[in-house]
Amino acid sequence: MNLDEARLADSAGRKVGDVILQVEAISLAFGGVKALSDVSFDVREHEIRAIIGPNGAGKSSMLNVINGVYRPQQGRITFRGETRPFMEPHHAAVQGIARTFQSLALFKGMSVLDNMLAGRNLMMKSNILAQALRIGPALREEIAHRKRVEQIIDFLEIQHVRKTPVGRLPYGLQKRVDLGRALAAEPRVLLLDEPMAGMNVEEKQDMSRFVLDVNDEFGTTIVLIEHDMGVVMDLSDRVVVLDYGKKIADGSPDEVRASQAVIDAYLGVKH
């Protein structure tokens, strides 16, 4: 009863599909600092793709390149068949890329419900005057948006804080609301920047379940950055490993775990 039946029918569960997003030979530098050099990988539809690496490896920069916040100096991005030298933020949003942030990006003074409705503002078609007066189509539109947001609230089990200002919620719940805000945009690809950072074990378990459920129920493709190795290895289908802006491994969790380059990057090398 809390499922969006139509969406379910076409996503038909976790069947990993064709490549939906491909980055090729991306290089990004800030002045003399090379954040990314010649990184290439792809993301398939409906899969959970993790990006891991030590601090400063360029993980968040990679996400910022994908959703258009940073413009790489070199390389190409292909999203849903369209190849561009870089993404524009509004292209990313309109085409169905949403993200959550390591440091939350929520309106602290607004309620959970309003924050999530804000996540749908790209989909609001009626003009601001009609919305303010709640006339005709604007009212119908608002009801439709509210319904969708309520489904996500139900999905994430945050009904009890629906009307609570976000700033008053504990951190773990705020993270869940941030995920809800991103989901409200009904993304094809969801970028999660350290969704479990700063959480205790129980909160991590809850969050992991929600990530899997989002992927499973909505068929959303997920690209995730995470430090907790246990979480990454359990959740993801494929993992790409960055170190000092370079890709050093790419493959299934088991392959990555066995890779000498990864072990060296994480544990250090004897000199």
């Binding site: 809390n2 379910l8 509210r146 309520e150 999905f155 089990e157 009904q159 009890h160 459920d213 499973d216």
Partner: protein, 652 residues
């Protein structure tokens, strides 16, 4: 709306009556996606018809058991009635029961069918399936997470309803015919009681039991068809079953299912129930919330709150009971209603409550009086699963904090010499399922049910429950000694967390006390008393005085009770460590294991009855990481002031 309670003798017949008499009235609501959805009696009848047909098609027959597992959801309530329409017997489960606990019940009742709420419950059933081969069909309400399940036993509620529609196309009169076959003496439901020892026992209750008990309450309180009730307690609990199912069907009021367990308070405020049932722990949690929020309020508001709560304590309960109160106080109280009581009742969601009940465990007098003084008609009742909760209830205007009221109409009660309460009542269960010896132990040849509770009637004819009968003892001079009664009285003080009373076959009563480290810690901080941990805090002389005052107040209370005045607490000791379930001192549900503690701390018990005034104990403790160690402490024994019988009235 006039009372037009149904006259049928089974729940399905009552359903048909309501659906015929007022098909357009709402019967049940559920909050879904933030909106209250309602089903009318007419719509609900149709849903239940389809469901019953689906169950019949799947092979559910007269006398068979069907498990119902989940939170309060309309579809689960409908399953109860649908099963009853076929003459089958629903067996509700606690939604938080772990899989291992369910095995016994599934085997005992040979359950072949189950309707569950969601994936969580379905997973549990698949876990126990190998041990319960009789289980053939599991239907789920909420499909989330279940799409990839391929087990042949599993299918959705919607499939079940679809099968029912098919079945009905060929047999249009099926539902009515099946219901007509039912009699009041048929078994309506089976509820398992959580036995503290051994396996749970299935209490078999007939339609007659529950219908008569429901009518008893409905007549006494004048329940009407427009009552609003919040269905928020576990369905497997008799209280929930009687107040939100049996009475719902008998009276024909409305029940409302909250969105989730966490939203209950908000949902309650939106619904504004007129008829409310809550165990003491729920009332306590509500009060704690109020207290915490008041502490954060501005100084002026706090002063206003304190002032009017003081007045309410003095005259509020008297006004509610209709006892004489001076006109000036009445005016003052009316002002309080405007400023404090009405807004507070609204914040609690109790603005419209006409009758509220509490039961299940002893309720602290302060907590009880708090609600009554606000003008909320909270009353206590006494009953158990075996009696369909129909034994005693406090009538309006005769409410005392420490009794459960006089027997209800049709209930006979006797108190045996041992102090045990035995009774006969129309709600009395038929038997424990497949357990004749337990049935014989509980119900004697003349139909008297042995409650296992000890108590007596006070001067006004109200029953007073003091303890479990097997725990009640006698002091060496023959005075009644009810340890749990003393312990509860002590534990009602916020500073006391646990208490263990001793006195059986001794000259006087004594007690071991655990302070509540949070409450006493706060108290100490405010007074600038430094402490390092539990043991240190417990040994402070100021804390001893604080606890001493609590004990003396208990003694003052006891001295006013003709039967228990002799069991005042003469000496007490504040324990050096907290009683802990890991050390075997408490059960997992946090009940003290008096016998075990008496043996383990025999030196302390000896000291309580000796003259040394102190003792040294060494106790083994188990740390959270599994290591064990010993704690050595020197404890001093304190004497408490006792009062002569009946002399302490002035102290109140």
């Amino acid at each position: 709306m006039t009372a037009q309670a149904g006259t049928g003798d089974t729940f399905p017949k009552l359903l048909l009556e309501h659906a015929r008499a007022r098909p357009g009235d709402p019967a049940i609501r559920e909050k879904d996606l933030g909106i209250w959805q309602s089903w009318t009696w007419g719509a609900m009848r149709d849903e239940i018809e389809v469901l019953a047909a689906g169950l019949a098609k799947a092979g559910l027959t007269r006398g068979a058991h069907i498990a119902v597992i989940g939170a309060n959801r309309p579809r689960l309530y409908w399953t109860l009635t649908a099963a009853q329409a076929l003459g089958a017997i629903p067996v509700p489960f606690y939604e938080d029961a772990v899989a291992a606990e369910m095995i016994y019940v599934f085997q005992n009742a040979e359950i072949a069918f189950a309707v569950v709420e969601d994936q969580e419950q379905a997973d549990k059933l698949f876990e126990i399936l190998p041990q319960c081969p009789a289980l053939k069909h599991i239907w789920f309400d909420d499909a989330r997470g279940l799409r990839h399940y391929t087990q042949k036993e599993l299918s959705s509620y919607d499939h079940l309803a679809e099968a029912g529609r098919e079945w009905l196309r060929e047999r249009p009169g099926f539902f009515g015919q099946e219901i007509a076959k039912g009699k009041g003496s048929d078994t309506a439901i089976m509820l398992y009681t959580s036995g503290t020892t051994g396996h749970p026992k299935g209490v078999v209750l007939s339609h007659d039991n529950l219908v008569i008990a429901s009518r008893g309450y409905a007549e006494m309180e004048g329940l009407r068809t427009d009552e609003e009730v919040l269905a928020y307690l576990p369905m497997a609990w008799i209280g929930q079953n009687l107040f939100s199912y049996a009475q719902w069907m008998v009276v024909g009021f409305r029940i409302n299912c909250p969105e989730s367990a966490d939203t209950t308070l908000t949902d309650m405020r939106e619904i504004g129930p007129t008829y409310y049932f809550a165990p003491p722990r729920v009332l306590e949690a509500l009060l704690t919330q109020v207290t915490i929020r008041m502490e954060d309020a501005s100084r002026a508001k706090r002063a206003l709150f304190r002032h009017f709560m003081g007045l309410a304590r003095r005259v509020g309960a008297a006004i509610l009971d209709g006892r004489p109160v001076s006109p000036l106080d009445r005016l003052h109280y009316a002002l309080g209603t405007l400023c404090v009581y009405a807004p507070l009742r609204n914040a609690l969601g109790m603005s419209r409550v006409r009758v509220a009940y509490t039961a299940g465990e002893a309720i602290g007098p302060d907590l009880f009086v708090f609600y009554r003084s606000l003008g909320i008609n909270l009353k206590q009742l006494y009953g158990s699963t075996e009696t369909s909760v129909m034994v005693c209830v406090q009538p309006n205007g005769e409410v005392k904090p420490d009794t459960v009221g006089p027997p209800m109409k049709g209930v006979e009660i006797r108190v045996l010499d041992s102090g045990e309460i035995v009774l006969r009542c129309p709600g009395l269960f038929r038997e424990y399922y497949k357990n004749d010896s337990a049935t014989r132990d509980a119900k004697d040849a003349e139909g008297w049910f042995h409650t296992g509770d000890a108590g007596y009637f006070d001067d006004g004819g109200h029953l007073k429950i003091i303890d479990r009968a097997k725990d009640v003892g006698k002091l060496s001079d023959g005075t009644l000694f009810a340890p749990k009664y003393l312990e509860n009285k002590l534990k009602f003080f916020p500073h006391i967390k646990e208490a263990v009373a001793f006195g059986h076959a001794r000259g006087e009563a004594t007690a071991m006390i655990n302070i509540d480290v949070q409450a006493v810690g706060d108290w100490a901080e405010r007074r600038g008393i430094p402490y390092s941990g539990y043991g240190d805090l417990a040994a402070k002389p100021q804390v001893r005085d604080l606890i001493g005052e609590c004990v003396e107040q208990v003694n003052a209370d006891l001295s006013r009770d003709a039967k228990l005045a002799g069991s005042q607490i003469h000496r007490f000791v504040i324990l050096h460590k907290e009683l802990d379930a890991d050390d075997g001192e408490l059960t997992r549900t946090r009940k003290v294991r008096r016998g075990f503690i008496g043996e383990k701390y025999a030196t302390i018990v000896d000291a309580l009855y000796g003259d040394a005034g102190r003792c040294v104990v060494e106790a083994q403790v188990r740390f959270e990481d599994g290591r064990t160690g010993t704690v050595r402490a020197e404890l001093s024994i304190h004497s408490a002031k006792t009062f002569p019988r009946e002399s302490a009235l002035a102290a109140a």
